[in-house]
């Protein structure tokens, strides 16, 4: 039967896609560990990680300094880039589907700015929530991001009931600049660590260590599960809330869980790496171009692709002005802004012709 063969074909297509993407991820990650001011041969990287993580083989032939660099600096750094890139891309894909808005991402919606404000407050006022310890930073970021998101959507709805693409983005930008000003105010009032703060605000995954990996990982898992549980509903919602309601989707519940999931991801990512813009815009867009809009695959594939992308960006940021380093957020913005413009133009064109 031809139908069956199409189905098996499509199933194997997905399997192939996932395997290929994961392989690419592994290769890029290994490269990311290998490249830097002190180059470490790929073979050594594999050996060190094999021995330390999987307890395979021995480190007899390896220089202990190399081992330290890999395990204490490079590996957590690459892992952090993977997790942050994955989180932001997931959040972006979810926002875009939920708001039917190809320009939505944590950065353009102002969620990143909200989360930043939360993080900056924690860092500068030394806020400490009870019981959560080190997780105060991501939790406050997440809450601030979520509040910002709800604020942006409520405000945009006040402006225009049907939440057009332009209104939402404009509101996001408005919100971003307001929150950015608040952040500057806090910094100006509190002291002189300006350079460090600005470096943090521009976004970076360097010199964070394992602690930050531990901070983001649980939220990534939680966010991913929340979003995957609403993947089919996101498909329906990307045709509009009304249409989703007509096929029996509990719109309120799933909107809430998507907003929550995406806020968790954004807040945690911002808390550990500052504001890295446009990843959430770019990656889902590219994934959609290759694999289509079905969120059941779009979400996980975006996560993997986002990880790959951010590791690559991190490698470039290390090399481009060596021996010093470019903040990774600068790089993503340089690449992301023109692509944002391109998506905007093609979206308007498409809208104009249909």
């Amino acid at each position: 039967m031809p139908k069956r063969s199409i189905q098996t074909y499509s199933k194997s297509k997905w399997t192939f896609s996932y395997i290929a993407m994961l392989l690419l991820l592994a290769v890029v990650a290994a490269l990311g560990i290998s490249v830097g001011s002190i180059p470490i041969p790929l073979f050594h990287v594999i050996k060190i990680i094999g021995a330390n993580v999987f307890h395979l083989g021995s480190l007899a032939t390896i220089d202990p300094t190399e081992s330290t660099i890999v395990m204490d600096i490079r590996f957590p750094r690459v892992l952090l880039a993977l997790l942050v890139g994955g989180s932001l891309s997931l959040a972006g894909a979810a926002f875009q589907g939920l708001l039917k808005n190809p320009l939505a991402d944590p950065y353009t919606l102002g969620v990143s700015s909200g989360a930043s404000l939360g993080a900056v407050s924690v860092i500068f006022f030394g806020i400490q929530l009870p019981f959560v310890g080190a997780y105060t930073l991501p939790i406050v970021s997440i809450i601030a991001g979520f509040v910002t998101l709800v604020g942006v959507i409520v405000f945009a709805r006040l402006v225009q009931r049907n939440l057009t693409v332009e209104t939402v983005i404009l509101t996001g930008i408005l919100c971003s600049s307001f929150l950015g000003a608040l952040i500057s105010l806090i910094i100006a009032l509190t002291g002189d660590e300006l350079r460090q703060v600005i470096g943090w605000l521009l976004g970076s995954v360097s010199m964070r260590g394992w602690a930050y990996v531990n901070l983001i990982a649980p939220f990534l898992i939680l966010g991913l599960l929340l979003l995957l549980a609403s993947a089919r509903e996101l498909n329906a919602l990307s045709f509009g809330q009304q249409e989703a309601r007509h096929i029996g989707v509990n719109v309120k519940r799933h909107t809430m869980s998507v907003l929550l999931g995406a806020s968790l991801l954004t807040g945690a990512a911002v808390a550990v790496s500052g504001t890295i813009g446009f990843v959430g815009l770019l990656i889902p867009h590219m994934v959609r171009m290759i694999w289509g809009g079905d969120h059941r695959h779009l979400l996980p594939l975006s996560m993997i692709a986002g990880g790959i992308f951010l590791v690559v960006m991190d490698i470039v940021s290390r090399l481009i002005v060596a021996p010093s380093e470019l903040p990774i957020g600068v790089l993503t913005a340089i690449i992301g802004s023109p692509i944002f413009a391109f998506i905007f133009i093609s979206y308007r064109r498409k809208k104009g012709t249909s």
Partner: protein, 485 residues
């Protein structure tokens, strides 16, 4: 069956729909019509449960809409929206499969083979199966609408609601979509409730029609009960005319512009000229014409009236086509021409004007016939032919057109009787010839004339004009035949 009982609803406390009651029965297509802002969409939103009823109730097979969970309701009610909103790139198959959402069970919501079978079936029914792997964004408006219909049908609903389903679609897609719907309704006992803007689509496809006006139900009934000129004019505040559909037993609604466009000069009148083998009567503007002519039969709008002489032995397998070619050759537009043929000599034309009626008649009585005895005679098309062209100033109703024809025919018979023209075979007085033709053309300007029987001024004028013109033409005929013999 869905029962809407005294339902009122609206937004922010203001009622947009005011105590509407109707029932949509299984296997019926119910149409909701009404001007913009009459509450049609609000009513549909109330039926989908999106908007609660302020008063009254809406039930499906006895259960109130609000008592269903959203998934349960989606298994019973599906909606085809006005136009699919633009979305990201989804394949057609993925979009249609969304319709199975209410049937997915469990945390993973996996599709079963039953789900896949339904998706395949509805794609075949709506004719989108060949598009399955294409992106929805690459489709035309009509194709997209069919994909969304497939999605709605994939819900296997008992009730399908449509909000102006044919909006933005070109003519053939409108008809195809409605045909598909009608077929589904008849085969599957599906109930369809559709908001329709196009009154003619509503008239052609609906079993029941609901007319809404300012949130109230103005009328409810079958298309022929509903489509009444006066009611529609009042509700829509537009000039329109309701008449019978040419091929379907349904009313046809024709719109008329309320402003008269380029009012023709009333002082100009019809001119007549002989051009070679035909007489050409030229009207200054388009006249509404009822004729039995070969070209322009029935009601049409014409400004050129051709009476063409053909030899007695004229024979052609497709006379209409031949005549059309002839008219085109003479550089007339065949769409706005009434064309008759005659074996009589067009030089014999008789012309008479009485008041607002002018008659042009050419007559040959070589085959004169008594209509009451015609059944006794063998059928043979011999030349004869009395061709009558009537031009009338005034606005005639359809009844007046038909009465004008009757009056003209009676006057023709009288003229033949008075000249003693006989049916050679039956040996009685002739009432006409075997192949007579008549056209009545009216300016459709100025006063409306409802009747044209002999009791009316128009009838009297027609009778006199036809009688005089025919008598004149017969005199010419006799003269010519007499001088020849």
């Amino acid at each position: 069956m869905i029962v809407v009982n005294n339902a009122s609803g609206g937004y922010d406390g203001t009622k947009k729909v005011n105590s509407v009651s109707f029932q949509a029965k299984k296997g019926k297509l119910t149409g909701i019509i009404g001007p913009n802002g009459s509450g049609k969409t609000t009513l549909v939103k109330m039926i989908t449960g999106q908007l609660p009823c302020m008063e009254g109730s809406i039930t499906i097979d006895g259960t109130a809409i609000s008592d269903f969970s959203s998934k349960e309701l989606a298994k019973i009610v599906a909606v085809l929206p006005q136009h699919g909103e633009n979305s990201f790139d989804f394949s057609v198959q993925e979009v249609v499969a969304l319709g199975r959402y209410p049937y997915y069970k469990g945390l993973l919501k996996r599709a079963t083979s039953e789900d896949e079978r339904v998706v395949r079936d509805v794609m075949n029914i709506t004719g989108v199966a060949h598009l399955a792997s294409q992106s929805i964004a690459s489709l035309s408006g009509g194709e997209r609408q069919r994909v969304l219909l497939a999605k709605a049908l994939a819900q296997e609903p008992q009730l399908l609601l449509l909000d102006e389903p044919t909006n933005h679609l070109d003519l053939s897609y409108q008809v195809k979509l409605m045909d598909t719907l009608k077929e589904r309704v008849q085969q599957h006992e599906l109930t369809v409730v559709a908001i329709l803007h196009d009154l003619n689509i509503a008239s052609l496809y609906c079993d029941d029609i609901l007319l809404l006006h300012e949130g109230k139900m103005m009328a409810h009934g079958t298309p022929s009960e509903m489509m009444q000129t006066q009611v529609l004019q009042d509700v829509y505040r537009t000039q329109l005319h309701v008449q019978g559909h040419p091929v379907e037993a349904k009313p046809l609604i024709a719109l008329a512009p309320s402003t008269q466009q380029n009012v023709p000069n009333q002082h100009e009148s019809v001119t007549m000229e002989q051009k070679g083998d035909h007489l050409c009567m030229q009207a200054p503007f388009l006249y509404k014409t009822l004729s039995s002519a070969l070209i322009g039969e029935g009601f049409s709008w014409a400004h050129t009236f051709i009476n063409r002489h053909v030899p007695k032995n004229y024979a052609c397998s497709d006379a209409k086509q031949e005549f059309q070619d002839y008219i085109e050759q003479q550089r007339y537009s065949s769409d706005e021409t009434v064309g008759m043929m005659t074996a009589a000599f067009i030089e014999d034309v008789g012309v008479a004007s009485v008041n607002n009626v002018t008659a042009y008649v050419t007559a040959g009585v070589g085959n004169a016939c008594d209509a009451s005895r015609a059944w006794q005679q063998p059928t043979h098309a011999a030349p004869g032919t009395i061709n009558m062209f009537l031009f009338i100033e005034g606005t005639l109703t359809d009844a007046a057109f038909l009465q004008a024809m009757m009056t003209a025919t009676e006057a023709k018979s009288a003229a033949l009787r008075d000249r003693g023209v006989r049916d050679e075979q039956a040996q009685t007085l002739a009432t006409g010839t075997t192949t007579d033709c008549v056209s009545v053309a009216a300016t459709q300007q100025g006063k409306t004339i409802h009747y044209a029987g002999t009791a009316t001024a128009l009838g009297k004028a027609i009778g006199k004009a036809v009688y005089e013109a025919l008598t004149q033409s017969l005199a010419h005929y006799d003269q010519r035949v007499g001088t020849r013999s």
